[in-house]
Subunit: 275 residues, 2 copies
């Protein structure tokens, strides 16, 4: 695929840093600059060679032919409208946000040359010091174009992720946010609450099962409050659906319903086997 | 420590099989027999050399100086009263059940020489084919004596688990069942419900986070319906506590409460860091 001349990564954390490393490994960019909030993050991204140059302000993205927004969702929403006056008309913008309806709305309103991306490759670790060139390898990247988009742009972004060895699926923003509310945002909400209700002095009795189950509770609070709040409606729907499932399980336990309880657990076990 | 002459393991699954392998590795038993429900399980336990001999009925446990009950909780409850007429007075009985109040009640009623054990070393895999001699190494084993017990028995059981390189903590059955309701039974109930509410066609969008969170949903339904039902009261209390935590999170999301939501997530993240 055609190599980018200048890629600007806004937000040089785990995802942004890994994206820089991956682009370099695959020689897909001549120059990569990073934009961060704090000099410390920029320095760490420079140290692991995820970016060639790093800056605190947005001015330096001028001349980029690809801008990647890998910041918390609310920051992406803040930055998007500012881009139009800095970048040229042929610059493509992508992001790595976990919710898409609000982001796509802004991109449509400002008629940006934008393709939403959601690489399902995050983890509870954060920061460029944990970045890996192969973070996206064998992962799924969801592509969410706005209502009006250039089909060549979509095709180029698709090829870009495939060059990083990710598979891609194209979705609209409503469907993306509905599905992710169930498969990602709901489990995070449930786990944060599960930890909340545990007494601290019980923790030492937690074995491997509890550790695995609550691992996503180590995720970045700043990132996740943005995800929860920018997908409120769908997350509340998912929580409601979960509560109905939990009520059913509770009543089977309360009523000592041996056979139906076993059937409920077997159905869940079998569904989990399909994951 | 003193070697056992004849150990009878009732229930030759993952835990029973691993216990047999561990005893052999540490040369703590002269003879190990296994008792199973199905010839197939016995054959598999024999094949991995977790036991020396295997039988379908209880008769062959005669002459044992240690009986280990590593079957589902309701089966342990069924078998316990039958032991008195088969074993000799100096035979020690231990178990590996995940709930203890009902088991201890039976042991007390029948005045058995019993020390309840709960090795926190299970996993979602099952069967003797997954048994490992080092399953208990570096794990925690909870010891739950009945109200009246012989202190030498408790000390011998403690030394036995320590010989298998497990740490031990002594608890009474009520406290055991209260704590485990929160640290183990609640997470399992929540995960089984979480899977229940997921549409099957959403599963392909599940990434590593969902996989880790729901791994315990692969646990044996037969084992877990017994655990839920024999610890109903405590589990329902834990579920109620969890629901209150979830309600609080939901209202922060519903009310778009940015600051308090971030504080809630940070508190959970910090608590999880202590696990």
């Amino acid at each position: 695929m055609k190599v980018f001349d200048k890629v600007a990564i806004i937000g040089v954390g785990l995802i942004g840093g890994s994206f820089g490393l991956a682009l370099k490994k695959k020689a897909l960019a001549k120059e990569i600059i990073g934009i961060g909030h704090r000099q410390k993050s920029i320095d760490r991204a420079l140290r692991v060679r995820a970016i060639d140059q790093g800056y605190l302000g947005l001015d330096q993205i001028k001349g980029a032919d690809l801008v990647v927004l890998s910041a918390p969702v609310k920051e992406i929403i803040n930055i998007l409208p500012k881009l139009k006056n800095i970048i040229s008309e042929d610059c493509l913008i992508i992001d790595a946000g976990s919710t898409k309806s609000e982001i796509i709305k802004i991109a449509e309103k400002h008629k940006l040359r934008f393709i939403g991306c959601h690489p399902l490759a995050g983890m509870e670790k954060k920061g460029p010091e944990n970045a890996r060139a192969d973070l996206f390898k064998n992962s799924l990247c969801l592509l969410i174009p706005p209502k009006k988009y250039n089909s060549q742009d979509l095709s180029r972004v698709k090829k870009l992720w495939e060059a990083l060895e990710a598979r891609t699926v194209i979705l609209n923003s409503a469907r993306h946010d509905r599905i992710l509310a169930f498969t990602s945002h709901l489990p995070h909400a449930v786990v944060f609450s599960l930890i909340d209700c545990l007494k601290s002095d019980y923790l030492k009795f937690g074995a491997g099962g509890l550790k695995d189950t609550t691992r996503i509770g180590l995720s970045d609070p700043l990132l996740w409050k943005d995800i929860f709040l920018t997908n409120r409606k769908e997350l509340l729907l998912a929580l409601h659906t979960f509560e109905k499932s939990l009520q059913r399980l509770k009543s089977l336990i309360k009523n000592n319903n041996d056979g139906a309880l076993r059937a409920y657990l077997e159905k869940s076990r079998d569904k989990r086997n399909g994951l």
